[in-house]
Symmetry: C2
Subunit: 226 residues, 2 copies
Amino acid sequence: MPRPRSKARSSPKTPASAHAATARGRGNAREARSAARREAILTAALEEFSERGFAATRLDDVAKRAGIAKGTIYLYFRDKESLFQELIRSTLTPLVGTIEALGKADIPVAMLAERIVQLFVHEIFGTKRKDVVRLMISEGRRFPKLAEFYYREVLSHIMTAVRALMTRAAARGEVPEALARFPQLIAAPGVVAIIWNGLFDRFAPLDVEALMRAHVDLLFGPGRAP
Amino acid sequence: MPRPRSKARSSPKTPASAHAATARGRGNAREARSAARREAILTAALEEFSERGFAATRLDDVAKRAGIAKGTIYLYFRDKESLFQELIRSTLTPLVGTIEALGKADIPVAMLAERIVQLFVHEIFGTKRKDVVRLMISEGRRFPKLAEFYYREVLSHIMTAVRALMTRAAARGEVPEALARFPQLIAAPGVVAIIWNGLFDRFAPLDVEALMRAHVDLLFGPGRAP
DNA sequence: TATAAATGACTGACCGGTCAGTCAGTATTT
DNA sequence: AAATACTGACTGACCGGTCAGTCATTTATA
């Protein structure tokens, strides 16, 4: 079977570096440029991986999209797999702090619900993180190392934070204690929204914010208790 | 000019046909054998696709696993993609009837909840359908045709049935009407369970039946109403 | 000019798909 | 029943195309 081909990009070319933000009149220009290059590669890689999946993505296309030559990629990443891992790693790791912060505060459930909706809609679904999560879901099984890293460095921390928060809220009778046992139940509709968006949105568009609001309302809404 | 030939075949192979269920004393033996072959290929393909993903699966390996030669696959399926589609199609299509039947009956919510748990645990999670669903989730995006087929022939029917059922139940005040608007909320934990199982079970095993029970209890349990 | 960065032609391995050839089993003839 | 002819399912070596990764050469920078 002929592999998926990409229509030749004409290329806007590397606006990425240009000048770089460092006013520091030193050798940092190099560093800045280097960081921009790296970023450009990661961005291009995300687009290609998202569109074709890991195995079918050609590094030549990633390079073309980033406006560089293929060999340059190897100056920044050890190999294809390393590039893939770094992409997921760098995008998802920052989420931990955000969610742990959310877990710290004991705010009223109504406000918590709204925060969860906003967090998901604006920090995940509305950003490239959506695509990275999708990638993690799609390809994670073939990268046990990556799944382990993701579980250890990201997911387990989130689970712990959510569990603690829910345990406290349940103790006050504000939420069902099942949510402390199964934090997955809180995240599930978000996961489904991302999958749906990738597979079926063109047949049946999903109003993600409404879905999430309905969801938190079911969990935290009126009449909830153990 | 004759090509170089290989050493004589050793294995007898093909225990598959043997007798075949057809008492019809005709040439059906052939058909039965053929059907068994086809099935063997599909089974082998599921295992390989599940393990490696579509692009990285080698048809040579599928053949090896099915105990046949690579060329034989092409006697049963047009190409690699066709094999993949047929695999998903044939596995998932039968679910529609099952779920539509469930949607027909207006049984008490407590019983409905139990039915949903059982259906998921025994008809999906406990069977190879789990793997096929995972495949659909992982690879569906790269097969728009397949996603469309799946949506049209499977998902939309399920959605319709569930929506109708939930609408009636909501009218009786037995379930929140949000479930009629977003049937995805009912299925979400099942989807998450399948993904979790593939990615993180070795770090944090998930008790799927307990998860599903907690889930339906949240949705349909005591105190639920619009 | 010296050093670092970037390039892209090249290579070796790999794999989907093909097809000439084989042979177990079935049908036909004697 | 035995010999012969026929069939088509099955095989696996091969071909053509692809692509990750390398490295000698060129270009940019300090």
